[in-house]
């Protein structure tokens, strides 16, 4: 007898997206939707979206969403969380969004301990505009605005570590969306982040390391190896601060 053991979680649909082959955004969405479902919080959630590749999945999931301007998702989420603290408020951002143009909004929301979860998709490049250097671009990584050199742009910025040393945040973690094992760990962290917000009323931050085969110039099939060799040594995964 046939038994369905894998499919889209409730709250996600199979509408076409325009993500590139090998992109990690859908894995990130799936992690969020599954975690919200598990906590029975999907209907109570408001997700604030950034400007960046995440826009490409406009209608792929059934969560109330507010579209913010580039870099400002954490500030918009702050307004939502302050007026409706009973909501599960998510800011879904990219590394260019949260770690560069919106670093002030990102850090200050964390420092105030807003009752929200900031999710940052870190693929070490500006994806939507076509592969320019971001704050998290690795040393030596080739981008359309040059190869990152320490003397010119400094080292890749570590915002998760910066947030972890602030007093107010309750949960800070970095996970990868590389292998099934990594994704399971990301899901575990995501549930903890959301619980920290919901149960303890604290700020959570979770960074999800993602593939960008198109702008890395790496074939999707080679991405796991590339990321394990190049990204993980710079951005180690794990919990940086936990309230459980």
């Amino acid at each position: 007898m046939e038994q369905k053991i894998y499919g889209l979680p409730e709250g996600m649909n199979d509408k076409k997206t325009s993500f590139c082959p090998g992109c990690s955004h859908m894995a990130a969405y799936r992690t969020i939707v599954e975690s919200l479902n598990e906590l029975n919080e999907r209907d109570n959630a408001v997700i604030v979206r950034p400007i960046g590749c995440s826009l490409n999945a406009d209608y792929s999931f059934d969560i109330h969403a507010i579209q913010s301007m580039h870099g400002r998702a954490s500030a918009v989420a702050t307004g939502v969380a302050r007026m409706h603290p009973e909501k599960t408020v998510l800011a879904y951002q990219g590394d260019g969004d949260a770690h560069s143009i919106g670093i002030a909004e990102c850090l200050y929301a964390a420092n105030r301990g807003e009752k929200m979860t900031c999710i940052v998709i870190n693929n070490s490049v500006y994806g939507m505009t076509g592969g320019q250097m971001s704050g998290t671009t690795l040393l030596g990584q080739r981008t359309t605005t040059g190869i990152r050199e320490f003397d010119n742009q400094g080292a890749p910025i570590h915002v998760a570590e910066m947030i972890a040393q602030l007093e107010a945040p309750g949960y800070v973690a970095r996970a990868a969306l590389y292998t099934p094992k990594d994704i399971m760990q990301a899901k575990k962290f995501m549930v903890k982040a959301l619980r920290c917000q919901k149960e303890l009323g604290k700020y959570s931050y979770i960074e999800l390391l993602s593939f960008c085969p198109t702008n890395w110039g790496v074939k999707p099939v080679d991405c796991i190896k590339y990321a394990q060799e190049n990204v993980l040594p710079v951005y180690p995964v794990g919990e940086l601060k936990t309230c459980f």
Binding site: Y59, A65, Q67, M69, G79, R82, M83, A104, E105, Y108
Partner: protein
């Protein structure tokens, strides 16, 4: 009738906003607006269900307002020119998404860092297009503390009704002016209009807040038609205009000084009047269309901005109505403002 009380402009504005139902304020200190942020920081925690938050910047503040309003709260921010420039992107997004808000600009002097003295130099910036893309705000330009309090009270209703940003354009002089005013009573928070479109209220509607409709171009046409329909909402103060042969055009605090000068000349029999727009957008074009070319000899424009900004709207209104009346313009700027005596002297040169 309630008793008149003595209020500073910035504080009267703040208290009136709370009475109109403002539930969320985020702002950042900047002279000459700071009293608004300070007053609300003290006052909002005294009231139930209100949230005050000092943002880390004007950028953050306007986006906090966006989030609070998108989830259904009447929300406001206040700033001065430099801060408004930083907010421009957010205000444009609010306008496109149809998320209402009230924004107060207490104008200070000059471009760049400028100075903290009073000026009317943000007129074009605010009335042209609030941020990129060409959408507009409904703009009030009060000239007394009473008008400021009344207009901010109405601003929240207009913002809700049309789902737009409403701007209150005052200057440092009016923000710091202390006058006797009668404030309107507290609105019953349960009687405020239900926001069907807000995230929490519309389980059946579209789940993504971006722009108002699926067809973006049509959305822009609808917005343009809405702006056209506002022409009947234009507010104007036609001062001693019945038999006026010399027509002063001015707005805000500058128009107030003009009134004193006009009264002095009227006492001597000179037929001087004034058109003072109380709304900057919609602009009261009908007052200019009603001018009698056979009767009006001269239009005299006064404003505290160099080069002129308000004058551009005056000329456009006259051109649209095909009125060929000579115009002379006088300006101050960069922190220097007209006094009534100075205006009186200029008017004497014209009418003699």
């Amino acid at each position: 009738m309630a008793k008149k009380e003595v209020w500073q402009g910035n504080e009267a504005l703040s208290e009136s906003a709370l009475r109109a139902g403002c539930r969320f304020f985020a702002g950042y200190p900047i002279t000459p607006q700071t009293e608004i942020t300070e007053y609300l920081a003290k006052r909002m925690p005294q009231l139930e269900g209100r949230v005050f938050l000092q943002g880390e910047s004007e950028l953050a503040s306007i986006n906090m307002v966006y989030g609070a309003s998108a989830i259904g709260a009447r929300a406001m921010t206040a700033t001065s020119g430099q801060g408004l420039a930083l907010m421009a992107e957010g205000l444009s997004q609010l306008s496109d998404a149809g998320v209402p808000a009230v924004v107060v600009d207490v104008m200070r002097a000059g471009p760049g860092n400028g100075g903290t003295e009073s000026s009317q130099g943000d007129y074009s910036f605010v009335s042209g297009s609030l941020g990129h893309g060409g959408f507009k705000a409904f703009i009030f330009g009060p000239s007394t503390v009473q008008e400021t309090a009344d207009m901010v009270y109405d601003a929240f209703d207009i913002a809700d009704k049309y789902r737009v940003v409403v701007a209150i354009l005052i200057d440092g002089m009016l923000g710091h002016l202390i006058e006797a005013v009668e404030l309107k009573p507290f609105r019953d928070m349960d009687s405020l209009p239900f926001r069907q479109w807000a995230e929490k209220n519309d389980p059946t509607g579209p789940k993504v807040h971006w722009c108002m409709g699926p067809n973006w171009e049509q959305h822009a046409r609808d917005v343009a038609a809405m702006y056209e329909s506002w022409s009947e909402l234009a507010q104007v103060d036609e001062f001693m205009m019945d038999d006026a042969e010399y027509v002063v055009t001015a707005w805000g605090t500058c128009a107030r000084c003009c009134k004193t000068a006009i009264r002095a000349l009227r006492a001597e029999g000179y037929k001087v009047g004034m058109i003072r727009p109380k709304t900057i957008f919609p602009f009261p074009k009908q007052s200019f269309a009603a001018l009698d070319e056979g009767k009006v000899k001269q239009i005299i424009n006064f404003e505290n901005a160099i080069p002129e900004q308000f004058l551009v709207d005056v000329k456009a209104a006259l051109a649209e109505a095909r009125k060929d009346i000579p115009i002379v313009s006088y300006t101050h700027g960069m922190g220097t403002c007209f006094t009534a005596d100075e205006i009186e002297a200029k008017l004497r040169e014209v009418v003699k």
